[in-house]
């Protein structure tokens, strides 16, 4: 499975590398698009020194962490949410006649290596904010754990979004609310949002574990929403649980497709 995936993305990368100028331009474009969110944060902090009790650098830390996880996921499996397009074009049938998992084939399909530009941009923001904040190094071990957790959570979310499209072939845009919406939500401290929304993204869609809970630990701050200290460490468990759910949903989606079929 890993080999098949690596092979597919390597083939796409090689074909993109055949046009280096186009590749470089595309990398610049994706970085510029992603920089809009950063620009918004900077404009907000041109007007205030703190947002919901968090300083500019702390918000940039949370933004950088979530954005890095999101962009890595988007780079690696971002095309998994094109299920409805594949169903409508009939290309899902082609995927299913090959002796490899459909998930791997769809995740790697049309891999866009230029998205690396956004990953680097997010990494730069995170690196800068960590350097400025200078967190306690005894707590910094959480940073890589946080990133890995975030990547797994977003990957599970993308997979769920893809699975949902087996049902929503006519309105695939709905799933953007969960994927891109998740990215938007995690850019700011969760203390910005209403209490019910925070509960929802902590216990239902575990977006709070992408950057908020582990981030609070790294920053050495208590949760303004009052969750106990041990929830800072629940991220990996939440990610695992969500992944299991996503895997089940995906299997169910494929089964649904094979049992309902497509017209034509």
């Amino acid at each position: 499975m890993v080999r098949t995936y690596a092979l597919l993305i390597w083939t796409w990368t090689r074909s993109a590398a055949a046009y280096p100028a186009s590749f470089a331009l595309a990398a610049v474009f994706t970085t510029v698009t992603a920089a809009v969110d950063l620009g918004v944060i900077l404009v907000v902090f041109a007007n205030t020194t703190a947002l919901a009790g968090f300083s500019r650098d702390e918000v940039l830390f949370l933004y950088g962490a979530a954005s890095l996880a999101f962009c890595v996921t988007d780079l690696l499996i971002g095309n998994i949410d094109r299920v409805s397009g594949h169903i409508r074009a009939g290309t899902l049938d082609v995927v299913l006649i090959r002796p490899a998992a459909a998930w791997v084939q769809l995740a790697a399909d049309r891999f866009v290596p230029a998205r690396i530009g956004r990953v680097l941009q997010a990494a730069a923001v995170l690196g800068h904010s960590v350097a400025v904040i200078g967190p306690d190094w005894r707590r910094a071990w959480m940073i890589p754990v946080m990133l890995a957790t975030g990547i797994v959570i977003f990957a599970a979310l993308w997979t769920l979004a893809g699975a949902l499209q087996f049902l929503l072939t006519d309105a695939p845009e709905v799933v953007n609310s969960f994927t891109y919406g998740g990215q938007q939500l995690t850019q700011y401290p969760l203390s910005v949002y209403g209490r019910d929304l925070v509960r929802g993204v902590t216990y239902v869609l575990p977006l709070a574990f992408v950057n908020w809970q582990p981030g609070l630990y790294v920053l050495g701050r208590p949760d303004p929403c009052g969750t106990p200290e041990f929830t800072r460490f629940l991220g990996p468990a939440a990610a695992l649980l969500l992944s299991l759910l996503a895997a089940l949903a995906w299997r169910q989606g494929i089964r649904h497709y094979r049992s309902t079929g497509s017209q034509g």
Binding site: F29, T33, V36, V43, L51, D170
Partner: protein, 280 residues
């Protein structure tokens, strides 16, 4: 979405085809073509609403820290947020929607250029139909959700509603004028991704869709408020809120409508020239 295949014969010049009746028909056609995909529009409305809620909380946090920023109170800021989310569909803030780039690439644009009706007006009429449909189906739900969840306000008094209606029409005209120019640029570019990204960034950032332009610091704010993108979102949103004088706001929008439409005329002439010379 594919561009309409119904192309009248260029040899035929019936007099009624140049009357407003034709354009009324095109508006209806644009409306109906989008009405065929209510699922897509409602999905868009849902996504716009979710993002509206997330953005509203950020703005509330900002206004709690700095009440009265940009001349808005918290209620204005939240209302602004949902109004701008409602504009995404009708004003096509993420770009595209005209189908012209595809027609230029396939060479079908030559058919459009020999029609008895000018391409620019033709496209405008169809796009107006699209905008009207999306305003109703994709624009209203975020506003209703904003009213239910955050109690956003509505314009009071017929004068404000009339100003809003005029401002919406002008905002659409500027939005179309800009997208039309972007679409025509494909004629001179082998790869239009750059232009589209540039347009996306300019339109989302400098229109006020992400943050009210009043928050932009110093000269950046002044420049942003004078650029055409401000006429697409910030101006009609201010007319909705009643936070800007009606006359100057509409005049500002009218100015950019005329400028962009004029550039559009020149652009159309240029591609006609190019298509004729290169033989389509």
């Amino acid at each position: 979405m594919p561009h309409s295949p119904h192309v009248p014969s260029p040899c035929r010049h019936p007099p009624e085809d140049t009357t407003p009746a034709l354009y009324a028909r095109l508006v209806r056609h644009g409306f109906r073509r989008h009405a065929a995909y209510p699922g897509a529009a409602l999905a868009g409305a849902f996504t716009n609403t979710v993002f509206g809620v997330l953005r509203a909380y950020t703005l509330i946090a900002l206004w709690q820290a700095r009440p009265g920023l940009a001349g808005y109170d918290v209620a204005d800021a939240v209302t602004f947020c949902f109004v701008t989310q409602a504009f995404i569909g009708p004003m096509q803030l993420f770009g595209g929607g005209l189908g012209i780039p595809e027609r230029i690439r396939s060479g079908d644009i030559a058919l459009d250029l020999v029609r008895p009706a000018p391409l620019q007006l033709w496209a405008f009429a169809e796009d107006l139909g699209r905008a009207a449909y999306l305003l109703a189906v994709r624009g209203v739900p975020p506003l209703l959700a904003g009213a239910a969840l955050f109690g956003i306000t509505a314009p009071d008094g017929p004068a404000r509603w009339a100003a809003l209606a005029a401002g919406l029409l002008a905002a659409f005209a500027v939005s179309f004028g800009w997208r039309y120019l972007v679409a025509l640029s494909v004629c001179w570019l082998t790869d239009d991704r750059g232009v589209n990204v540039l347009s996306l960034v300019l339109t989302t950032f400098f229109s006020g869709m992400l943050l009210p332009l009043g928050l932009f610091p110093g000269a950046l704010g002044e420049v942003a408020a004078a650029l055409p993108w401000a006429a697409i979102v910030q101006a009609p949103a201010d007319l909705y809120l009643g936070t800007a004088p009606i006359g100057p706001t509409l005049a500002f929008q009218a100015f950019w409508t005329v400028v962009l439409a004029g550039l559009g005329v020149l652009g159309t002439r240029a591609i006609r020239h190019r298509v004729v010379i290169q033989g389509g």
